[in-house]
């Protein structure tokens, strides 16, 4: 299996690749790439994201052919996709961080600022309330398990069925979203110690 992490100049790709290296089977390889051809042919595609929504979107758009390659892999071929943090937020139709920016439009909804009296960013370990209990991603993951979050914006979806798990930060926050072969986590599995590694392992064992 070719596990491909999209490198578009965002944040800490090393953590994501190290974590995948840790949980992958010996037959799989982890590849961090800017090459749209490699992305289009990935068996599993991972889009990490750190920073602001518009910057991340721009980082992908400026790579010639990358947007099309992602769509070909995820939408046409239906290969398993994992978006992390802003990578997850990009799955939505539109983001409102600083300016209004279109996402990939895979999930109907938008990314807006968290409304709370609590501190922002929502930073630290928070508990997961799993709604879609039978989803393979949550195999052996306990209800209430802690994951590491760092974000001030969150995804608000028009349809609840795409919200697979939530966390509570003044209001319910979409923590895991998904549809068909696509998964997005608002938290960082690559920074969530054992539970995060377990979830990444579950993702790699997923055959949607």
């Amino acid at each position: 299996m070719n596990l491909v992490i999209i490198d578009y100049g965002s944040g800490n790709l090393r953590s994501a690749s190290k974590a995948l290296e840790r949980v992958k089977s010996s037959r799989s390889t982890v590849c961090v790439t800017k090459d749209p051809d490699v992305v289009a042919s990935a068996d599993y595609l991972i889009l990490p994201g750190v920073g602001a929504f518009p910057d991340c979107k721009k980082g992908i758009t400026v790579l010639p052919g990358m947007i099309d390659a992602i769509a070909e892999n995820v939408v046409s071929k239906g290969r398993p996709f994992l978006g992390i943090c802003v990578g997850m937020q990009l799955m939505s139709a539109v983001g409102h961080e600083y300016e209004t920016t279109n996402g990939f439009g895979w999930l109907p909804g938008e990314v807006i600022k968290i409304e709370t009296e609590l501190k922002l960013p929502h930073m630290g370990w928070n508990e997961l309330t799993i709604k879609s209990l039978g989803h393979p991603l949550f195999k052996n993951v306990d209800q209430g398990a802690f994951f590491y979050f760092v974000h001030s914006f969150h995804m608000q979806l028009k349809e609840e069925k795409f919200v697979l798990a939530t966390t509570d930060y003044g209001e319910p926050i979409a923590a895991v979203v998904g549809k068909d072969n696509m998964i997005g986590t608002q938290f960082h599995p690559e920074k969530s110690q054992k539970m995060g590694l377990l979830m990444l392992e579950n993702f790699l064992n997923w055959r949607p």
Partner: protein, 252 residues
Amino acid sequence: MLSARVIPCLDVKDGRVVKGINFVDLIDAGDPVEQAKLYDAEGADELTFLDITASSDNRDTLLDVVSGTAEHCFMPLTVGGGVRKEADIIALLRAGADKVSINTEAVRRPEFVKEAAEKFGSQCIVVAIDAKRNGSGKLQVFTHGGRESTGLDAIRWAEQMVEYGAGELLVTSMDRDGTRKGFDIELISRISNRVSVPVIASGGVGGLEHFAQGVLDGGATGVLAASVFHFGEFSIAEVKKDMASRGVKVRS
């Protein structure tokens, strides 16, 4: 519900872990990567490396420490000390840091914080504030490990740094550091009441009860300590158990 973070800090000099009493008389003790693995296994919520290497010549030893840690520890990692330019941040993030903490350079050139937050996102920019009371009891910002006064009011400075894009503040009391009397609750609470971002309390832990005080009385969302962990006085688990018994939400 969000849990309070317990954050062991490793003071690193020339690639080795040290911890000073009031920032002088350093006692050497250990390999930072081994220490980090131990804290990871114990359930630390984050790790902080503070590089106190004076010269920039040994900068690469720090990067080795960071990448060695990122290899083994799948948890958030903050690195501070000597972060003066964009290239320093890029190098640390590439090595595996998630956040960088900026102290002296923020005082010298506050726009650096703004530029860094715009380029890398507020979530990875921590501003470290070393505060100390002056002769008339006013909380002021100090730099250079507490040796140099800046004349800046610590509370006002905290607000300004958040306006400039800091995503988190690491607030250390230089009066309390190494004294084991507990956090400077007045300092921590005055800052956390005034800013919208998370505040990490640091400096002065000596007893288990001090950790919970930082959260309950100080309003911090994270508590940081070095010596008490480093010398094995308390384990992370003991700290969390005590915090939980006092009504603080912690990750088990």
